[in-house]
Amino acid sequence: MKRNTLTFTIGLLLVLIFGALLFMFQVRQTEVALVTTFGKPTRDYNTDPNKPEPGLKVKWPWPIQKVQKFDKRIQNFEDKFSETQTHDGKNVLVAVYAGWTISNPKLFRERFTGSIPRAEQSLGNLISDAKYAVVGKHPFSHFISTNPQELKFAQIESEIESRIKDAAQAQYGIRINFLGIKKLGLPENITQKVFDRMKEERGRVVAGIKAQGDSEANKIISAADRDRAEILSKADATAIEIHGKAEAEAAKAYEIFEKNPELALFLKKIDTLEQSTKERTTLILDQRTPPFDLLDGLQKTAPRKNP
């Protein structure tokens, strides 16, 4: 009895496993699944990115229903680096990249028999057309500019994206998750012209730097000159002030001479005489000048003596 129960349990378990294999299938988080009934698509799973529904699902066993799974993860697509014209007639090379996912497995299977390379080929054509159309609507200054109002880099990207978004969804069963410019360039012969222009520009920059440097140096020197003149004139003013004060003080001290102006004048004269004859002086005196007036007497007496 006990043995039979065990056997029965194991048997039931095996039947369950077998049944599960026949009637159930799992959808990974990274996959979308399409169920076909007699080759005709009837249901899909896990296609909404906002409402993921991975896990175990039921189906009728083969040959009634069949499950086909596709990669749900975001695929990277890179466009060709191709030449086109901007609105103002400039030739530019632009390549875009896009992240895309399979959003409608039924349509995707129908269109590309589930082949990702074939899907990318069609997607490439779609993106190229949109790229040429959008780039042709914008002047070159929308691609490069220091002015944030002028620069439309992100806007150009979103215009391309919105242009293909609906078509990709409706025709290919593909969702464009994001799109951006991956390469931006100029035709090869233009690059050489750009180099020539850059060299010219550098020449101007060099001249500008030199001129500016010289004028700055001049400014520094002339400012210093001005400062020096100011300092010196201030010093002169201070000196004059000091002298003035000194003279005023001296004048006050001279008041004492009023006690006897005659003597004061006499002393001054004496002093002046002494000072002015200190050096390299030749004195020519006659005999009336004291003390040579003594000679006068001598002279008068001498002739009287001699004869």
């Binding site: 990277n76 500016q212 010093a235 000091i242 003080e249 005999q287 000679l295």
Partner: protein, 375 residues
């Protein structure tokens, strides 16, 4: 795979007891044989179950994490579910599935969309006349110039489930976003700013645009350190070097001017000091001479008042003595015989002054000029 096989083994075990009642030595031997073979099958089955369950043991290597998908799904996308490094067990394949994630590892991505072609052996090919768009990458600056720019960026995966399960090749998506950010940022800077003056602002812009993009694309990563190289094209390198040289020259001129200016100022300051000091010492000199004069005056006043005539004569004579002693040449002209004064005619020939004498005289003049005692 092995279930249908097991199923067969068990299904046959149940009907076996019925034929055993038959009294037949041949069938008895057969049932004996079957019994023993079922025993072997049971052992094999047991071993298979052990192997099946044991195959669920796995190791998460260091620097990695793992996430287990049960029937293809994670029950809730939280970090707690991540299995750290070490030994783990999960149900084997059809039930559970494990995905390894390089999480704590810092990932590095380089955008070389703006760099010129480099040979496979790492050497740089000679720069041509122009840039071939198929080979040489570059970025356009806001003023329509060409630069080469390359950015290397570290990032850390913060949402590993999204990073691994939502992207076919997340690393390539990250690279694309970085390429895009680099071009977009370069388009907003003039060439001088991009390669010389505002390189860090340029880098910050790249990182900012990149961070915004990866957030929008829900890559689940966080930007770490980054490095940006930006250079002018090699074809115009010389012209750019000339600018650097001019700048250096200009700064040399500037420094020279600055040092000349500071010399001028310090000279002016010391000159100014000496002017003021001279004035101060002149003042002291004047005052002391005035004081001396007045002292002299007061000293002599009583003597003068006693006998002015005598005082005058004495002092005059005394002074004369000094004057005469000092004088270099002295000529005494006696009166003519008729008692009238003699007439004297001098022919003066200006004697060239010696340098020493001139300097001394000027100095004396300078000392006397500013201070003229009042009359």
């Amino acid at each position: 795979m092995s279930e249908p096989h097991d199923h067969h083994g068990h299904d046959h075990e149940a009907p076996i007891p019925a034929p055993i009642s038959v009294e037949d030595s041949g069938s008895q031997a057969l049932s004996e044989a079957l019994r023993s073979s079922f025993g072997i099958v049971k052992i094999i089955m047991f071993v298979l179950v052990i192997v099946f369950i044991g195959s669920g043991i796995f190791t998460v290597p260091p620097n990695q994490k793992a996430v287990v998908l049960r029937f293809g799904k994670t029950s809730s996308a939280t970090r707690e579910q991540l299995l750290g490094p070490g030994l783990h067990w999960s149900w084997p394949y059809p039930i559970d599935e494990k995905v390894f994630i390089p999480i704590s590892e810092i990932q590095t991505v380089t955008s070389s969309v703006g760099w010129y072609a480099i040979n496979p052996d790492g050497t740089e090919p000679q720069a041509g006349q122009s840039l071939n768009p198929a080979l040489d990458g570059y970025a356009l600056t806001a003023d329509g110039n060409i630069i080469h720019a390359r950015v290397t960026l570290d990032y850390q995966i913060t949402d590993p489930i999204s990073y691994v399960l939502n992207f076919k090749d997340a690393k390539e998506t990250v690279t694309n976003a970085l390429d895009n950010a680099l071009l977009d940022a370069a388009a907003q800077f003039n060439v001088d700013d991009a390669v010389r003056l505002e390189r860090s602002a340029f880098k910050d812009k790249v990182v900012q645009l990149f961070s915004r993009a990866v957030e929008q694309q829900q890559l689940g990563i966080v930007v770490g350190s980054s490095k940006l190289e930006s250079i002018p094209p090699r074809q115009v390198n010389e012209a750019f070097n000339a600018v650097t040289a001019a700048e250096q020259e200009s700064s040399t001129t500037n420094n020279a001017a600055k040092s000349a200016a500071s010399t001028m100022l310090s000279t002016a300051l010391s000159e100014s000091n000496s002017i003021v000091n001279t004035a101060i010492s002149d003042r002291a000199k004047l005052l002391s001479s005035v004081r001396a004069e007045s002292t002299n005056f007061l000293d002599r006043l009583p003597a003068y008042e006693r006998n002015p005539q005598l005082f005058r004569q004495l002092l005059l004579t005394e002074t004369w003595r000094k004057v005469l002693a000092n004088a270099e040449d002295k000529e005494v002209m006696p009166d003519r015989a008729d008692g009238k004064p003699r007439e004297l005619r001098l022919q003066l020939n200006r004697e060239p002054e010696s340098d020493e004498y001139r300097a001394r005289r000027q100095k004396q003049k300078a000392e006397q000029n500013p201070v003229t005692p009042p009359k």
